[in-house]
Amino acid sequence: MSGLMAHLNSSQIAAVNGLLGRGMIRASLSKYRDQAIPVVMILMLGTLALTWFKDGLPISYIDYPGGLDRALAFSRGLYTWEAGFGDLGRANLQSMSYFIPYDLLLGLTNVLGIPLVAVERTLFYIWFTGAGLSMYYLVYVLMKGRKEQPLAGIVAAVFYMMSPFALIHIWPSLTLAIFFFSFFPLILGLFIAGLKDGKGFKFALLLSLVWVFTLNGSNSAPRYMVFAWLILLSYFVFHILTIDGSARWRAFRFLGLFGVIWLGLNAYWLINFALHLRSLVAGAEYTTISQSDIWTYKTASASVLDAMRLGGWWGLGEGYKGDPYYTWGSTYLSTPFVAISFLIPLLAFVGLLFKPRYKELTFFSLMALAAIFLIKGFNPPLGHLNELITSNTWLLRLIRNVYVNVGVFLALSYAFLIGWSVSFVYHKLGARCVITLKSRVYGVGRNLFLLSVVILLFGVYAYPFWTGGIIYSGGKVIPSARFEVPEYYEDAASWLDSQDGDFRVFSLPFSRAGYADYSWEHGYNGMDPTEWLIRRPVISVANSANPELPLQVATTLSQTDSESETSQVAKTLALLNVKYIVLHRDTNWEFIIGHPYWISTSLGQYESNLKGQRGLVLEKSFGKLDFYRNIYWHPSQIYAASNTVLVSGSIDKMFEVVSSDSFTPGEAVLFLSEQVSSSQSEFIQEHSAGSSSHAPDISFEKVNATKYQVKVTNATEPFFLVFSESYDSQWKAYVNSQGGDTNWMEAFFQGAISSEEHFTANGYANAWYIDPAELGTGEEFTITLYYQPQSLLYLGWMVSGLTLVGCVSFLVWGWRRGRRLKTRRDRV
């Protein structure tokens, strides 16, 4: 071309350039038009999610944290200890992992004053449209340059958005797994593009950043991170097997770059996660509702017949007290719908008949078959093999709720396969244009074929998406998923805000699993929102390391033969730092009575038992909320005690000891022989000072959820410092004889009180033995109570920040170097 140009004059060159330019513009316009039309269609279809909101009400269901207190949600992601969340305090090593993007988004929208319903609408649109767009991108990468790609992309995208899996699980359950569902195809697409094109540093950084801002939203269930890596690595192995030479080296280089950048960017949560993996796994097992992994796996699995049609979810035809779990469930089980459902596997695998040598088709077919094998559980075929593999490996723990956990991969692989098949059949029919009459017949035929698929799969079979039935509208007993918080909750919150001191509230009726069901105007069914609404730590769940005491209190208050006129309940609650019991008279009693998740009784029984207890007084009512004050309570978040009581036995025994008249909560400290080691037991007996001894004066400041600064004065004798948060060996007490505090960096190096002198007190709390003489502190000194994983979080943030800054600097340096070299070349 340059040789030709040399023979032309300037006006001719301008004319050629003009022609070339116009041609290129036209070519690129045509290229973008091919992609733009499907993308616009997906964006338009996404608006369907906005129609699911009715009467301007927000939606909340089961495990979806609806952001009722977005400021609290934001702060949860910043600290490794959680003072509330329905519990007596718990390690919070997971929230930070989904701080970006979820809690960050909630916090930002809160600062900007955007109403919750507007935030939810936006999120629903992003999730629904995001699923389609990311699926479209995956197909674009897999079929780049093929004429079938745009149609395959749009069919795959719409199928993925409106698949039976999304219909049965994703939208009705609304967990944070929705981030994974919506954006994993995008991550897979980017990864495949990186491998295929042998991309470098810039692309690996882009992929890692996209992962952090999308997939990390699902880290509340870390299994999704494991799944994502498993699929990416499986594709990598598959890819390596089917390429050779330099392409292999480039693929390895891309994987290495991506792995390193990913690790660096995710350090802010990965460090804590890796160091506390064992305790995190153990924490996931705390449950008072006994469901073994095997039982869950068996319940959640389906026959191969159902699994192949992306169905088989046990709840589809089930219900509760006459209400179906899915209003459209019975329609889905009817013969015409079952017949339509066979279109899914038929269309998915029919593509294999046309193009068996296409390797992507083989990979996604294998993925679909593997997913079906896991979803069918111990059912035939090869049920015993499945049992052998899953029961003896970590796989069972990972996939136990198998339809929920593995269904997403079946939906994803089916989406690609169906997109491929439909587009291929469509083009195949269109290609036979030899004779005009025949071509017309084929033209009509392929349009009819496409129309049938669209009507049957995306119209009829996905009808709850179009009618809004995907969001539960409420039955006789099961309430609607849409809700409106009554105003009296804000009145109660204001009243509690006006009170000083750190104290907890005990919520009744008590749920073992942390759920609530209210008979508000539109109903409510989901996670217990009391803590978010009254803005105080609330005890409302027994899924923790210390469920016994709350359970015992709740059980006593629900029994019909509950012993009255005893101070047992009030004093135990005082030990838990509970000032008020809140009785929800707005509970949906018909729903909770007899439900295994609740310790339930009638409203009348609760009222009678509460009034019968010594030490509990009905102080205030707001609408349908009754607040009973605990007269035994006095501020006991942190206190010093010289009196010790060593109880020989378990929590039951402690319950008895507490009710004795000689025991005053907040003045003595209780130890259970079962909760301390034998050497600690001897230590307590040895250092028990007796009732005549003198406890020092204590004042404290809560710096944040992970740090308390305690000032001790008049410390003439040894004492126990009690801290009323759940016992955790990572809570450390740093004594500063010169005053001042211990900062996060010093916490790595400064010596804390030894673990032998750190006890479980009052059945759940932390206590440290402090001997001023031994420590050489004098009578006045300060103690910093600090939750040590917080330092690792700060360290992680630094590593992540440095990785990002380092990567961006490297890019800028590379860009500037490129420009310098270009300028030098131009000069030469």
Partner: protein
Amino acid sequence: MSLKEKLKSIVVSALAILALLVLAPLIILVIAVAILWQEPRIAVGIALGLLLITAITLAAGGKGVAEELAVYAYFFLAAGVILMLIKYVGERRAKVEEEEQR
């Protein structure tokens, strides 16, 4: 024919039948694998055919039979896809070796 000969012929016949019973499925299997090895799409085609029959059976109310048929459909699909993968990798390697020899 003497009793001994009669017994002998019965035993031989029984052994022959037994051998056929054992060998026949093996022979069929070998032939099937050989055919499928040449063309894995046959297995996929059979699987899709079985799925169609499954749908009709289920619609007619034969859930038990439909589930059995679905199991076979799954087996044929798995066989087809795995054979496709093996063939693809094998052909790819052969192509690479051919190019290297050139």
